[in-house]
């Protein structure tokens, strides 16, 4: 059992090449962060993630599909991957999608460890 969630997030960043990782509760509360977030407003990020989650769940209900396990947003200068972790959501931020494969692999590896904390 890993000692704490901060170490696991940091390990996820180091091993995947992601820029930052954030754990956000379903209500938008930012539970934990790791990596380079600069001057990012975390409360706004948390609120946006909560809205995104609500939207994804509504869409899933409408389309009658099972709960999502990965949500990926790709932009010209960023890649964001969201994965449920316990009752919260793990948000991984990367500068581009070049490392998408490695991030997917490392997220898959680290989520079971993170679940014990969230």
């Amino acid at each position: 059992m890993a000692e704490n969630s901060t170490q696991i997030l940091q390990d996820l960043i180091n091993s995947s090449g992601a820029r930052a990782a954030v754990v956000v509760a379903r209500d938008g509360f930012v539970i934990e962060t790791a990596g380079m977030l600069g001057s990012l407003d975390l409360d706004t990020l948390g609120a946006s993630v909560a809205m995104l989650l609500t939207g994804a769940e509504s869409m899933g209900n409408e389309l009658r599909i099972a709960a999502f396990h990965t949500l990926t947003l790709e932009a010209s200068n960023a890649m964001i991957m969201c994965t449920p972790v316990g009752d919260a959501l793990l948000v991984v931020l990367a500068p581009d999608s070049k490392t998408l494969g490695m991030i997917r692999l490392q997220v898959k590896k680290h989520v079971p460890q993170l679940v014990q904390f969230f």
Binding site: D27, F29, E32, A50, M51, T54, F117, F118
Partner: protein
Amino acid sequence: MTVQRDVVVKKLADIKAVGNEEGLIPAFNVLVNNLPAAFWNTFTVRMMEAAPAERKQEMEDALMHCANVCGYNTGYGIITSKEFQDVVTPMVTEGAKDVLRGAYAVFTAWGWAKSGIAQIKEGERMVVRAMDYYEADMKPGYMMGFMVRGVSAAFFDLAYGEPYPNGGNTFRCEQVKGMEVGDPFGEFVVTRTDSPS
């Protein structure tokens, strides 16, 4: 859909909190006051310092109990208030869990502690994380987040204990991390009083 924390905080921030002629602010079915956090922190540290070594635990329990009683009654006032019913209740879709999320959003909006739920096992266990809580500014050399401890046990009791006012001692809360001792956040774990510690 669940409780959207930022919506609650923004709506509550718009509510005018004006003190009456006695300096008390009637809101959320209760009377609150507006005193600097430094006042309470100084009070807490002095109480702890005044206690002899063999009675520190007793003092700690007493301070936590004060917050617990306050949180239990104020918490009940909050979740049954018109403000809560108007702002939070329409977003409640996950029962007691959402009521708790709403309660922590109110706790944050009112400046008591920027806090929220990190993990919850309904009726059994809850982990709360807090930043910017009153005592975070202090450097006493020991964990002193008594307010968040007491209030968290009380909130969980309101959600899963005996109906108010017959609950109050069903849960306890331990602080496992504290900004006042150098951790990046405060962490508080609520468990049943009848479970092994």
